[in-house]
């Protein structure tokens, strides 16, 4: 027996004492344990059961036989996904949308936060912020509905562009505009809200730094470049790591609202495919296998980008 175990035994007392104390504790806190019951059941049923349910990716899951009774098929679903030439389309659609998101949406809140930070009329700034945060609280269904009402074939924007260009642009049903509409909606909905985290980081900047820089004759843009931007650098890196982790996530709740038979060619991302295969067509095992693959890649991406952040001298995610 090691000394550690002996110590532990000394602290806990002998076997009988240990059980007695445990019994007393359980009795004393019986009401607390009772309060814990709904929460623990919730986490087991709705969080942990699905986690173990991932095994169906390796089974031929049939609801009738259940998760435990279904036939084990190993890597069949993974092979059949890669054996199907269209998987490249799904992957490219996903990556293009993610890259566009990274390129056009990701910098938007940073720029907006920096511009807001330059405002000196605080009351006016507050007013603008109040307006900018509104769309964040609006349901995505309403956002897409508003887009349909304004950009659809009887909508105001559709008619105005038709008048200006002489020919209409089919914003809502053309594969060419699909991605831009998605990015546009995301920018409209989340840019204002996204500024909060950067504005919070900016409140931590020591104002003495600005004073010192001014004494040294630094102009406004040099102060922005040398003081303000470095102050939010680590926040930007953190957000970038999180973004990397979701490179393969295009989100299904937004996309399936915008997807239709006319833009199928570009709207089919991995997430949309998982939804269509799994929930619409009931191919549970196949869809779970694709979902599992996506999660594995996402975790790897987060680990890699976190490592890079460490190498760059940033704190990173953990």
């Amino acid at each position: 027996m090691t000394t550690k175990a002996a110590e532990r035994k000394a602290v806990r007392g002998t076997g009988r004492e240990y059980w007695q104390r445990l019994g007393n504790n359980l009795k004393r806190d019986k009401w607390l344990y009772l309060l814990l019951v709904p929460g623990v059941i919730y986490f087991i049923v709705f969080k942990y059961l699905p986690m173990f349910g991932i095994v169906i990716a390796f089974e031929n899951y049939v609801p009738y036989s259940g998760v435990l009774g279904s036939e084990w098929v190993g890597l069949k679903w993974f092979q059949s996904f890669f054996g199907y030439p269209d998987w490249i389309t799904y992957l490219t659609n996903t990556l293009i949308l993610s890259l566009m998101n990274l390129l056009f949406f990701f910098p938007a809140p940073i720029i907006l936060a920096l511009l807001l930070n330059e405002m000196r009329c605080l009351r006016y700034k507050k007013t603008l912020q109040t307006m900018l945060y509104v769309p964040h609280f609006i349901s995505i269904v309403i956002v897409v509905s508003i887009t349909f009402v304004m950009f659809g074939s009887s909508g105001i924007v559709y008619k105005l562009t038709a008048q200006l260009l002489g020919h209409p642009i089919k914003y809502m049903s053309s594969p060419d505009t699909f991605r831009w509409m998605i990015i546009g909606q995301t920018i409209w909905k989340e840019t204002g809200w996204g500024t909060i985290i950067f504005l919070a980081a900016l409140t931590n900047v020591d104002t003495q730094l600005y004073e010192a820089a001014m004494v040294d004759g630094a102009g406004r843009f040099r102060r922005l470049w040398h003081i303000t931007l470095p102050a939010i650098r680590s926040t930007i890196v953190l957000m970038l790591i999180l973004r990397m982790g979701s490179m393969l996530d295009t989100g299904y709740d937004h996309l399936i609202l915008m997807a239709n038979s006319m833009n199928r060619k570009v709207s089919q991302t991995l997430d949309v495919f998982v939804y269509q295969q799994g929930i619409q067509q009931g191919r549970f095992s196949y869809a779970s296998a694709i979902g599992l693959m996506k999660s594995v890649v996402s975790v790897t991406l987060v680990l890699i980008s976190n490592k890079i952040a460490h190498l760059m001298g940033e704190q990173g995610l953990y």
Binding site: N25, L26, D29, W31, L32, L35, P38, G39, V40, V45, L49, P50, M51, G53, I54, I56, Y61, V67, L115, N117, E118, M119, R120, M131, Y133, P135, F137, I138, S139, V141, I142, V144, S145, F148, V149, S154, I156, Q163, S173, W188, I196, I197, A200, L202, T203, T207, G219, R220, R223, T228, T235, Y252, N260, S261, V274, G278, I279, F284, S288, G291
Partner: protein, 313 residues
């Protein structure tokens, strides 16, 4: 961030922006550009709402003929009259209210009970339960296994439970409430348990009355989530149309009715004829009004919540 520093005879405004006389011409031009640009961005953000509200009160003829307007020439409430006489939409509205109220009650009950138990450091096995919550914040089974648990194992399809239960606790919110409970002075609770109160009695008589603002905040968070949710109701209550909340109905009314014929196969015959523009706009307004009513509170507390998360994370 601006900060005013008082010195004996003058007030100096410090910001990354220009100071007093020293501002250069370039800096001033930038200021003007910045104010104009940000104002335009903010106006663009809320302009769609203004247009939709205006047009929902216009006649169908005016929407079709006038290119751009915010205030209708002939105010008409026909769209709203149609909505409030349509059983389907009224039903959706009451369903949404029902789901929001019951869902929020379930959320608060489960969150508070679990948070209170876990706020007691003396509880045996506390670390085990805390880890259980934290791990679930990082890993999830994904969409399909979750669907199987709810639809095939628990058989909750086409019941309200399928949208009320799956999100009963947000791990993140629960941890914040737990931390709040831990910050309540222990002496208060101890004196009550001396008087013979059980832990549940202490929770009801001492802790809850002290945490009303916190409960209101998280109640609001949960309520907005329920009001805006559509995905759960869409996939779990597919064939129980009479239980659909407004958001799912909105999807059918506006989004599917615009789509191609193939997407309209599963549409309700009542709306196979796409509804008029003004009706669509009025439905959007009606489903946004509840959020707008609580928006002042939302902004106040949500911003704080994000700040807490940002500083901790």
């Amino acid at each position: 961030m601006d900060k005013t520093i008082s010195s004996p005879n003058r007030k100096l405004k410090i910001s990354s922006g220009p100071v007093g006389q020293s501002s250069s011409v370039g800096s001033r031009i930038f200021d003007i550009f910045n104010y104009v640009f940000l104002t335009l961005v903010a106006v663009t953000t809320i302009l769609p709402f203004v247009y939709i509200i205006g047009a929902s009160f216009a006649t169908e003829y005016e929407i079709a003929t006038r290119p751009m307007f915010f205030i209708p020439q002939n105010v008409s409430t026909a769209a709203y009259e149609f909505i409030f006489s349509s059983n389907k939409i009224l039903r959706g509205f009451t369903n949404s209210i029902f789901i929001t109220v019951c869902g929020t009650a379930i959320n608060l009950f489960c969150t508070v009970t679990m948070a209170y138990a876990l706020s007691k450091t003396r509880l045996r096995g506390r670390n085990f339960f805390l880890n259980m919550v934290i791990i679930s914040m990082f890993f999830s089974g994904g969409m399909i296994p979750g669907y199987i648990v709810i639809a095939n194992i628990l058989n909750l399809s086409n019941t309200y439970w399928s949208v009320l239960l799956p999100g009963a606790i947000s791990a993140y919110n629960m941890m914040i409430v737990k931390n709040f409970f831990q910050s309540i002075p222990q002496e208060l609770e101890e004196s009550a348990s001396m008087d013979g109160c059980t832990d549940i009695g202490v929770l009801l008589k001492i802790v809850l009355p002290l945490s009303l603002p916190v409960l209101a905040t998280f109640g609001l968070f949960y309520a907005v989530g329920h009001w805006n949710a559509y995905f759960g109701a869409m996939i779990y209550m597919k064939s129980a149309k009479e239980k659909w909340p407004l958001q799912v109905l909105l999807r059918e009314l506006i989004i599917l009715s615009n789509g191609s014929a193939g997407d309209m196969n599963n549409m309700d015959p009542e709306f196979i004829q796409p509804p008029e523009q003004s009706v669509k706009m009025a439905v959007i307004v009606v489903s946004t009004v509840p959020i707008m009513l609580v928006y002042p509170f939302l902004q106040k507390y949500f911003v704080k919540g994000v700040m807490v998360g940002a500083l901790k994370g």
